[in-house]
Amino acid sequence: MVRIAVIRFPGSNCDLDVVHVLKNVLGVEASLVWHKEFKALGYDGVVLPGGFSYGDYLRSGAIAARSPALEHVKVMVDNGLPVLGICNGFQILVEAGILPGALLPNENLKFICKWVYIRCDNGWTAFTWGIPEGKVLYIPIAHKEGRYFSDEAELERLSRKRMIVFRYTDQKGEAVPEANPNGSIRNIAGICNEKGNVLGLMPHPERASEELLSPSGSADGLLLFKSMAEYVKR
């Protein structure tokens, strides 16, 4: 049986949504674990959920990134187990140095909450191997600090190593400037590590995992969790 931990920090949200999707929609064993109690041992994968850990003080994710839980997450990263960071979880992974780059305040300085289109550009990660490359997903975002930034040299490495997994696009899958909600460099919505077992993304797949809850009737977010569970089984 696949066992996945969802780590809760003070200020996490959507953590219960992730547990619900894993448990009730996918039938995977999922536990909500307080960050101070999290140990790597006994889990096949981990999800860092969204929210506003530590009130986003200093910078989103900066304080949670120093939690001892992240040392255990790093062990799982090194062991090749799947580690997923959603929204604030992505910010925590970046601030912990597990994923490269920075997530700056949105270009319009506002909290943006809406459904967007993202294109899958790498179908070889632990979370996307069930998603054909080029497929456009419809999925919501809800953040104020989601403007991905990195210098040119690092962006070149991200491209070369195929670490840019999701880009904001229009409905047809074109990464045009108008489809970029927050000013992210190169329309980046999500990146992985070199091995592909760590993924961070700003959109919320757990909010798009049941047809009933999607305005378009799609459940595109579920594809990521399905891939994660299948990856562990194999």
């Binding site: 200093l58 900066a62 970046v94 601030e95 920075a102 700056l104 930034f149 210098d151 000013g183």
Partner: protein
């Protein structure tokens, strides 16, 4: 040991846009007629009280802390430390 006031200012690197600074510059300062102001960058300001034997030791501690705890994100930010007597 003496208590030193240490200021840490963090701002975006020149390559990372600062929309807040740009808006303050364009829509407040220039529209207010202060045309000699050529650029504005916003940042984050932390003022700490650090006990140390000398101002240099206080500065070294602040420097070490900024890096080990990632008070700034080296990908996107620059910072400077100033020790006040």
């Amino acid at each position: 040991m003496k208590a030193y006031t240490v200021e840490i200012v963090i701002e975006n690197k020149p390559a990372a846009r600062d929309p807040e600074g740009e808006t303050i510059h364009r829509d407040l300062i220039l529209k207010g007629g202060y045309v000699n102001v050529k650029a504005v960058r916003t940042g984050k300001y932390l003022r700490m009280t650090i006990e140390a034997n000398s101002p240099w030791e206080a500065e070294r501690l602040a420097f070490e802390m900024c890096n080990s705890l990632r008070i700034y994100n080296p990908v996107a930010h620059v910072y400077r430390i100033k020790v006040l007597e």
